[in-house]
């Protein structure tokens, strides 16, 4: 990033101030219009959102995060399992959801591998395979070049059938996955020795946000098989999963905020990963600005509404 000095002031800060100034004055202008009872065109709102998300990306703004208990529960579970435990991570999302949940998948994989767990990857979304390759490339190939396919991790790939797949693997893995994604037969994969069904796993993590997702993992695997289940989901479905916590669901990463908390926590505990990519933490900058803009819009909308109602009463 360009980071020079102008009039003794750091351009970085000047940029921040400039952005805030533009957005702030724009909102004031809208407020003034609202007080005069003028509605705003939809495209103006769109423009505001565009600016408030794009600007913080150009001028990086970051905040630090403290892990909430529900996120910490996942971290502590991975931390407390003895090395060599079998952890299954299922990629139940597509590229469209990726910006929100891929950081979770990456940091969870990194955590599981640094603890020397054996990681089993699979996907319930056909398009999850592409996302899985991202993790294999960005996390395993980049930071754990000594980890071997088939010994330290295995990629079982995608099977169609949504919860039908879960219904089968809860009692028999091989039936659904006769081979891994590279057509290595199930029985000759060293890592899967002694793994017959999901019941033999020490932890199941589903990363997703659609259907099938974490909820299906709980209903079809966690609950009937008694397997500890955790997950990371898009913010939109997170409130839906609270009913399962903590009885049926061990812990949960909800949206980018959950991911950012996990990244912060992980980096604190493992300083050797201090310079690892933290997409979720970076993403929280635009979040903050955009949230404020949206809240302002709610306020402005209501001012307009009350003005109109008063006018209506007077007539």
């Amino acid at each position: 990033m360009w980071n020079g000095h102008i009039w003794g002031m750091k351009v970085h800060n000047l940029g921040v101030i400039l952005v805030l100034l533009v957005i702030g004055s724009g909102l004031l202008w809208l407020l003034a219009r609202a007080l005069r009872g003028k509605e705003v065109d939809r495209r103006v709102i769109f423009a505001f959102i565009f600016v408030s998300v794009a600007a913080p990306l150009l001028i990086t703004m970051t905040f630090t995060f403290r892990a909430t208990p529900i996120v910490e529960a996942v971290f502590d579970k991975i931390e407390s399992l003895p090395p060599g435990s079998h952890v299954l991570i299922s990629y139940d999302f597509d590229p469209a959801m990726a910006p929100e949940v891929q950081p979770m998948a990456n940091v969870l994989t990194r955590h599981a591998l640094v603890r020397n767990h054996k990681v089993i990857f699979m996907c319930l979304f056909a398009t999850g395979q592409g996302q899985l390759n991202v993790t294999l490339r960005d996390v395993i190939a980049a930071d754990f070049p000594d980890k071997l396919d088939g010994i330290d991790y295995v990629n079982l790939g995608y099977k169609a059938g949504n919860e039908g797949v879960l219904n089968v693997i809860v009692s028999d893995f091989k039936k659904m996955f006769p081979t891994d994604v590279n057509t290595v037969p199930f029985d000759s994969i060293e890592l899967l020795d002694g793994i017959k069904s999901c019941k033999d796993l020490d932890l199941v993590i589903s990363i997703g946000g659609g259907l099938p997702g974490l909820k299906e993992w709980i209903l079809f695997v966690g609950d009937p098989g008694g397997v500890p289940t955790a997950g990371g989901v898009a913010a939109v479905v997170a409130p839906q999963l609270y009913p399962y916590y903590p009885r049926q669901l061990l812990g949960l990463l909800g949206g980018v905020k959950g991911a950012a908390e996990y990244e912060s926590h992980f980096r604190e505990r493992y300083p050797q990963f201090d310079d690892m990519p933290t997409p979720a933490i970076i993403m929280m900058g635009p979040q903050t600005i955009a949230h404020i803009v949206i809240m302002s819009f709610i306020v402005i909308g209501n001012i307009l509404y009350f003005r109109e109602r008063r006018k209506g009463r007077r007539v």
Binding site: I45, G161, N167, Y242, P243
Partner: protein, 225 residues
């Protein structure tokens, strides 16, 4: 006969699967039938694909409005189909993964599919904003409750929320906005979710029973009951 046989199939299979839950000798039926589904669904793809080609072919031949764009659809469809079925450009042999890197299929996935899907999804950010502006208005008590809950949660997910109420003493920490947001998510939100889940659970059970008993026949094309 045209009506009775499908109904008989539904009734028979439905009861069989209910029993399979309680009687271990037939407990595997559920998983096997799930496998069957996928296989049937693959055959259905022919129906869908055929319909798509027919609709767009017709549009093209009759020169209906926007017919030129139907060419785009058809070319995209057949190109992707060929790339996938024949594994064009796939570095491996026939047993390799269809989405293997380097194949035409993967290239089209990464450069057409991915940007289009992700952008379409990203439009939601704009629509969330326009919906909050347009529809979050305190018209009545219900709307006001909805609006306030949303507002507190929004505030709670920004550092602003913490800033606004940081002056609160520790003993009143529940009233700090981030905590209040968590409380709303974990208490009243939980209650609402649970009420809906219980209702939906019962609704599904009841609808399933209606299907198994052959009263609900809309899926067979019978209107109404």
């Amino acid at each position: 006969m045209r009506r009775e046989i499908p109904l008989a199939i539904t009734i028979f299979v439905g009861f069989l699967l209910i029993f399979s839950v309680f009687f271990p000798p037939v407990e595997d039926l559920g998983e096997n039938f799930s496998l069957f589904f996928d296989i049937i669904a693959v055959f259905a793809f022919f129906l869908g694909g055929g319909n798509l080609v027919r609709i767009h072919g017709k549009k093209l031949l009759k020169r209906k409005p926007d017919w030129a764009f139907s060419i785009v659809t058809l070319v995209g469809f057949f190109l992707m189909l060929a790339a996938g079925l024949f594994k064009i450009g796939n570095p491996g042999d026939i047993s390799s993964n269809v989405t293997a890197e380097g194949s035409l299929f993967a290239i089209m996935y990464d450069n057409i599919f991915k940007p289009l899907g992700a952008t379409m999804y990203a439009l939601l950010a704009f629509f969330v904003a326009s919906a909050s502006y347009r529809a979050f208005r305190a018209k009545n008590r219900e709307a006001t409750i909805l609006l306030s809950a949303a507002f507190v949660i929004l505030l709670g997910s920004t550092p602003l929320g913490a800033l606004l109420t940081s002056w609160m003493p520790d003993s009143l920490s529940i009233l700090e906005i981030p905590n209040l947001a968590v409380w709303i998510l974990s208490s009243p939100n939980l209650a609402g979710q649970r009420a809906i889940i219980i209702g939906i659970g019962l609704g599904v059970v009841s609808m399933s029973l209606r299907l198994i008993l052959g009263v609900e026949r809309s899926y067979l094309g019978d209107e109404g009951a």
